[in-house]
Amino acid sequence: MMKTWQAGKRLLPMTAALGLLLAGCGREDLSVLRPQGPVAESSYGLMKLSITIMIVVLLIVFSIAAYVWIRFRRKKDQDEIPKQVEGSFKLEVLWTVIPLILVIVLAIPTVKVVFAAGNDHSDDKDAIKVKVTGHQYWWEFEYTDYGITTAQDLIIPTGKHIAFELSTKDVLHSFWVPSLAGKMDTNPDGTVNRFSFSAPNEGVYRGKCAELCGPSHGFMEFKVKSVSGEAFDKWVASMKAPESVMPEDPVLAEKFKSQCLTCHAIGSMPASPVAPSLTGIGSRESVAGILLNDDTREDGAPILENLKTWLNDPQSVKPGNKMPNPKDMGLSDEEIDGIAEYLAGYTLE
C-alpha cells in the first residue's frame, strides 16, 4: 500500500503542471476546469490525478508504437523470416500488474470521494435546504425552511452548505452547475435524489440541464447567484413580504390577473405547478434562462427588451415550451408591452 501512495506523490508535480495548463480553459463561471467550490474542486482533483496517470500511459504506448514502426519497418532486401516469438511470461505479467497498480492508485481516492459526495447535508441544521424541481424547460427552487419559491435564479448565501432535494414534474432532467459541482439527475417521485454543494465566493454561475428532455433541452439553463449572508436574508425577507404589486393601470392589472396568473404565481400566491413564479422577476439574471439581462455585454440585452422578445413569441425563443402565445390569448401589442414594462419594474431589494 505504501508504494501506491509514493507513486501518487511522484505524480504530484506533473499534476500541478497540468492543473495550470488546464486552468486556461473556459469561463470561470462555467468551466469544469476552473472549479469555484469544494465539491467541484474534489471532482477536479480526481480528474487531474486520472489524466496524469493516463497521459503517462499514453506516452508509453505512443513511444513504443513509434519505436517499433520505425525500427522494425521491412527493408527492401529483407527476406529472412523473423523469429516467431510465442510470448513472454514475464512481460505479460508486467503489463498485467502495472495497469492493476495504476487502477488501484486511482480507485482508492475515487472510492473516498464517492462516499464523501454521498454526504448530502440534508440533516444539517445549518444548511439551506432547497427543493429543486425540473420542468420542461425551467427550474423551480423551493426553500422549504423559508416557505418561498422562485424560479430560474437560485440565490444562495456564500459559504453555506446548500442541501438539494431533486425531482421532476415531467421527464428526466439533470441539474448541473459545472463550476460548483457535478450533475445529478432529477427523477420523478419515488427516486428523489439528494446532494449538496457550497459556493465560497460571491458570483453568478451558469447552470444547465444535462439530460435530454425535449426540443429545448439545450435552452434549459439557470443561474446560481451566490450572495453574502446579509444580502441573502434581505432577499428572503423581500420574497416573504406580502405582495400586492400589480400593474398600476387597472385594466392591465385585470388582464394580467385573468390571463397570466391562471398559470403563474406571484408574491404570496401558492407556487404554481405548471409555470415559473414571477415574484421579483425584474431582478433576475435572465429571462427564460437564456435571454441575459445584461446590456453591458454583447450577448445581453436590457430586461425590458428580453421580456418583450419572450412575450411576443415564446415558441421562437424556446421551442416546445408550454407557455401559450400571449397574442393568441387576446392580448394586444400595447398590453404585452405594458405587462413587460410592469414585470421589468417588479424588482426585489
Binding site: S31, P99, T110, D185, G320
Partner: protein
C-alpha cells in the same frame, strides 16, 4: 433473385456489407447534418425537433444498422474459411438473420417519411420516450424496428456459436483458433446473453406505448430508472459486441504484416474472455448521476476501471507482435497502426469516466461524446477499415487500390482527430451533449467550428473509399489465393473468391497459424484431412425473405393498430389487427412450409470439383 434466395455465407456476407454500407451512409449523412447545425452558436440550419430526431437516428442507425452488419459481413465472409468449414452451421438461419436485420432497419428508417423519426435519444430514456412526451410514432418505429433487427443479430450470434463449436477443421483445437475466430466466438456469446435484455426492454416499452401498460410510468406504479437498468445491461455489453471483433481483426492484420505470430496468444484469449465477463458487470457506470448511492457507485467505478487491465494486455501484445518483426505498411496495416494509439486514447478516457465523482462532471457532456467516438470510430471503424481492405481480395477476388486506400486512411484519421479531440475540451468547458444549439460567448464557438471541419474531412475519406470500391469493381477479378503473400490462416489457402464449397478437401490443422506452419515446412498447400468426395450443399430458398417480410408487415400493422385513418378501409384493416394477422400469417405460413417440406439439399460430385479446378 439469386441474391434473395441465397444461403451461401459468402453471398450473405456481401449482402450484409451492402446493406450495412447503405445504413452507414445514412448515419453518416445524419452526422454531417448534426455537425453543420453546430458549426456556430444559435444556428438555425435545423430546428430543435429535427435535430433531436437526427441525433437519435444517428446513434441508433450507426450502432444497430451501420457497424453491426459490417461486423457480421466480415464474420460471415471469414469465419467459415478461417476454421476450415464449408459453411456456417445453419445456412437457412443465416439468411433469415440477414433479412430480419434488413427489414428491421428499413422499418426504422421508414419513420423519416411516415410521420416523425424517434426523438428521445438512442437510449430512449423513459418518460421522454413514453407516449405522454413523444406522441408521434417515432419511438414505435424505434422499438419495433430494433426488435426485428435484433432478431437477426441474435440468430446470427447463435449461428456463429454453433459453427465455431462444431465445425472446426480436424486438428483445430480452441487454442489453435485464429484470434478473429476467438473474437467472433466471444462476441456471439455476449450477443446471446445481452440481446435478450434489450428484447425484453423493447417489449415492455412497446407495451407501455401501444397497449397502455405501466412498466415505466410512475403514475401507474412503474419506474423510469428500470428502463435505464434494462437498457444498459444490454447497452454496455453491446460496446464489447462492437469492439471485440475489431480486436480480432487487428490481431489478424498485425501478425500478417509483421510476418510474426501474435505475441502472447494465450493471454490474448484470456483477456478477451475477461473483457466479455467484466463487460456484464459495469452497466451502472452509465448511471452514476441517476442517484444509485455511494455503494453502487463505488463498486461500479472499480469494476469499470478493471477492464483497463485486459485491454492493456491486448495493446501491449500488439505492440510486441511488431517488435522484432518486418512491418509492412499496406493499407490494412496502416489502419491497424492508426487503431492502436487512437483506441488507447479512447480507452484512457474510459478509465477517467469510471471514476464516479469525476463522472458527475463528465457525464452527458461532449467529453463523453468524444470518448465513445474514440472507442467506436477510432477503434471499431478503423478496425473495420483494416478488415475490409485486408479481406476484400478474399471476398471479391479484387485488390483495392493501395494509393486510394492510403488517401482514405490519412483523410479519415486526420478528420477524425480534428472532429473528436477538441470535443473533450468542449465537454470540460461546460457544453452538455444533445443540445441543438448553444448560446454565444461561452468559448464553445471555435472548437465547434474545428469539429465540424474535421467531420467534413472524414466525409471526404469515406468518399475516397467509395471511389476505390467503385473503380476496383470494374477491374478483372484476378487476386491470387494469398494476395498479401504472408497469409497465416486457412482462408488464404483457397482461391479468391472461394468456390461455393470453400474447401475441396477439409484441411488438417497442425498448429496455430496453420497455413504459415505449412509454408515454413516448405509446403505450398494444406495437407487434406479427407479424400475427395461429394460435397453436401444446402438448397437456396426464399422462405427466410418471406418470413422477414411477414414480420415487417406485422410490425407496421401492430404499430398503427390504434390510429384513425382518413380512409375507412385503412382504419378497418389496421384497427381490427387484420394487417398484423396477415403479416404473422405470412411468417408462420413460411415456417410451416419449412417444417412440412423436407429439403435434403444437393451434392457437388467429385467430377464437378475437378472441372471447377480446371476452369
Amino acid at each position: 433473385m439469386d441474391w434473395i434466395t441465397t444461403v451461401d455465407h459468402k453471398k450473405i456476407a456481401i449482402l450484409y456489407l451492402w446493406a450495412g454500407g447503405l445504413f452507414f451512409g445514412i448515419g453518416g449523412l445524419e452526422a454531417i447534418l448534426i455537425r453543420i447545425q453546430l458549426i456556430k452558436p444559435m444556428n438555425t440550419f435545423l430546428d430543435a425537433q429535427t435535430f433531436n430526431e437526427l441525433i437519435t437516428m444517428h446513434g441508433t442507425t450507426m450502432i444497430f444498422l451501420g457497424v453491426m452488419p459490417v461486423i457480421f459481413a466480415l464474420m460471415n465472409a471469414v469465419i467459415p474459411l478461417q476454421i476450415g468449414a464449408r459453411d456456417v452451421a445453419f445456412p437457412f438461419l443465416n439468411s433469415l438473420g440477414f433479412w430480419t436485420f434488413l427489414f428491421g432497419g428499413l422499418l426504422l428508417n421508414l419513420s423519416w417519411v411516415m410521420g416523425g423519426a424517434p426523438d428521445a435519444g438512442w437510449t430512449a430514456y423513459t418518460p421522454l420516450s413514453g407516449k405522454g412526451y413523444s406522441a408521434s410514432h417515432g419511438v414505435d418505429f424505434y422499438t419495433i424496428g430494433l426488435q426485428i433487427a435484433g432478431l437477426g443479430t441474435l440468430i446470427g450470434g447463435i449461428n456463429f456459436l454453433a459453427t465455431i463449436i462444431t465445425m472446426r477443421a480436424p486438428g483445430m483445437s480452441f487454442m489453435r483458433m485464429p484470434m478473429f475466430a476467438w473474437a467472433t466466438f466471444i462476441t456471439s456469446a455476449i450477443i446471446l446473453f445481452a440481446f435478450p435484455a434489450v428484447t425484453v426492454g423493447l417489449v415492455l416499452l412497446t407495451f407501455d406505448r401501444i397497449l397502455d401498460a405501466n412498466f415505466f410510468d410512475v403514475d401507474g406504479g412503474g419506474n423510469p430508472v428500470l428502463w435505464q437498468h434494462i437498457f444498459w445491461i444490454f447497452g454496455h455489453p453491446e460496446v464489447y459486441i462492437l469492439i471485440l471483433p475489431a480486436f480480432g481483426i487487428i490481431s489478424e492484420v498485425i501478425p500478417t504484416f509483421s510476418r510474426k505470430r501474435l505475441f502472447g496468444y494465450s493471454s490474448m484469449v484470456f483477456a478477451t474472455i475477461l473483457i466479455a465477463f467484466l463487460g456484464f458487470m459495469v452497466w451502472a457506470h452509465h448511471m452514476f448521476t441517476t442517484g444509485l448511492g455511494p455503494v453502487a457507485n463505488a463498486l461500479f467505478s472499480v469494476s469499470t476501471m478493471l477492464i483497463a487491465v485486459p485491454t492493456g494486455i491486448k495493446i501491449f501484445n500488439w505492440l510486441f507482435t511488431m517488435w522484432g518483426g518486418q512491418v509492412r505498411f499496406t493499407t490494412p496495416n496502416l489502419f491497424a497502426a492508426g487503431f492502436i494509439p487512437t483506441f488507447t486514447m479512447g480507452g484512457v478516457t474510459g478509465v477517467m469516466l469510471a471514476s464516479a465523482p469525476a463522472d458527475f462532471q463528465f457525464h452527458d457532456t461532449y467529453f463523453v461524446v468524444a470518448h465513445f467516438h474514440y472507442v467506436i470510430v477510432g477503434g471499431l471503424v478503423l478496425g473495420l477499415f483494416a478488415g475490409l481492405h485486408y479481406w476484400w481480395p478474399k471476398m471479391f477476388g479484387r485488390m483495392l487500390s493501395e494509393t486510394l486506400g492510403k488517401w482514405t486512411f490519412w483523410t479519415f484519421i486526420i478528420g477524425f482527430h480534428l472532429t473528436f479531440f477538441v470535443q473533450h475540451f468542449l465537454g470540460l468547458m461546460g457544453m452538455q451533449r444533445r443540445v441543438f444549439t448553444y448560446l454565444p460567448n461561452q468559448q464553445f464557438d471555435t472548437l465547434n467550428l474545428v469539429s465540424t471541419v474535421g467531420a467534413f474531412l472524414m466525409g471526404v475519406g469515406m468518399i475516397i473509399f467509395l471511389i476505390n470500391v467503385f473503380l476496383t469493381s470494374r477491374r478483372p477479378a484476378d487476386a491470387p489465393e494469398d494476395p498479401w503473400e504472408d497469409g497465416r490462416t486457412l482462408e488464404w489457402t483457397i482461391p479468391s473468391p472461394p468456390p461455393e464449397y470453400n474447401f475441396k478437401q477439409t484441411p488438417l490443422v497442425r498448429g496455430l497459424d496453420a497455413f504459415w506452419k505449412e509454408k515454413m515446412a516448405g509446403h505450398k498447400a494444406m495437407t487434406p484431412a479427407e479424400p475427395i468426395g461429394p460435397i453436401h450443399m444446402p438448397s437456396a430458398t426464399i422462405l427466410p425473405f418471406l418470413m422477414s417480410v411477414g414480420i415487417f408487415i406485422a410490425g407496421l400493422g401492430f404499430m398503427f393498430s390504434r390510429d384513425e385513418f382518413s380512409s375507412s378501409i385503412m382504419s378497418f384493416l389496421f384497427n381490427n389487427y387484420i394487417v398484423t394477422a396477415l403479416g404473422l400469417l405470412i411468417t408462420f405460413g413460411s415456417m410451416l412450409m419449412r417444417s412440412l417440406f423436407d429439403d435434403h439439399g444437393w451434392h457437388i460430385e467429385p467430377e464437378e470439383l475437378e472441372e471447377g479446378e480446371q476452369r
